[in-house]
Subunit: 174 residues, 2 copies
């Protein structure tokens, strides 16, 4: 697929709804367990997605559009949510994610980006030169792969209960 | 986590809602594209989940409860949906999945399974002896890993648009 704002917004606006459908009201053991030391729980992932909305995708898109290659992006803090989520319930985080995502989608749509805009370049601190299109596609992929991660983490909680069946599920060894 | 009917039903009843939130009304290109030859699209996965509701989880649980080890399970057809989904829209499949899942969850809850029931054994055609608990945990894991698969398949559609970013996403090479 070629990147399009329309198709990408279809995913971006669904992610908070999908996460609410999956996690709201479910037992804490599904939400708070992780895959082992130094891995994320579903709870951690929601915090990570919120932090991304505030400090990553939109701020970096603004740098590309306003300053181009002259100002490298700030490095992204993948662990910021450990502090920022403290004391918040999963429902609070889901609502916060929905709210910040809605603002960011509205901003994206308001830009009325042209193909020329999508080719504009920015400087990633470790990947080097990237285009706005690269950044905006990655925003979508980041959502989708974190939904995949959350459901994989949840699935692993039952691995011991499955008897011989884990051998049929390659994903449980990821 | 130890298997419990309550916690497992929390996932089983959410899966159709999650898939509707993710896929209803979205462009066909997100739903019909796959990961390459002989892989499933999200559309194929929904058909596979429906087939599982009809021929796998509940029929096998009934065999364990009614006939035990004396009657091995029927082998499962992982490709039945190619025929069964023919001519159906994704919305029709999502509705059908919701309907058959609801019936199956009600049936599971109506059993009022004891711990003793959960240890009852059946004979899997290739894995050998399995317990009802193994089967019922795997039902949940099967849902979750197929949500992970669907979102991974969708994510891969933008891989070419991401420039250098795929190197940060191990899951895109799964």
């Amino acid at each position: 697929m070629n990147y399009s704002v329309t198709a990408s917004v279809q995913v971006l606006e669904r992610t908070p709804v999908v996460l609410k459908a999956l996690l709201e009201g479910i037992d804490d053991s599904w939400v708070m367990n992780d895959e082992g030391p130094e891995t994320f729980s579903p709870y951690d992932v929601i915090g990570h997605l919120i932090h991304g909305e505030k400090t990553d995708w939109v701020p970096r898109a603004k740098i590309i559009l306003e300053q181009g290659l002259s100002k490298p992006f700030e490095p992204y803090d993948r662990f910021a949510q450990y502090e920022e989520s403290k004391g918040k319930s999963v429902v609070q985080l889901l609502q916060e994610f929905e709210r910040v995502r809605k603002q960011n989608v509205q901003w994206l749509q308001s830009l009325n980006l042209t193909n020329e805009d999508l080719e504009k370049k920015g400087m990633h601190p470790s990947l080097g030169e990237v285009s706005l299109k690269n950044l905006l596609s990655t925003w979508v992929v980041h959502d989708l792969t974190h939904i995949a991660q959350i459901t994989r983490v949840m699935a692993k909680q039952y691995k011991e209960e499955m008897g011989p069946w884990p051998s049929f599920f390659r994903i449980l060894n990821f």
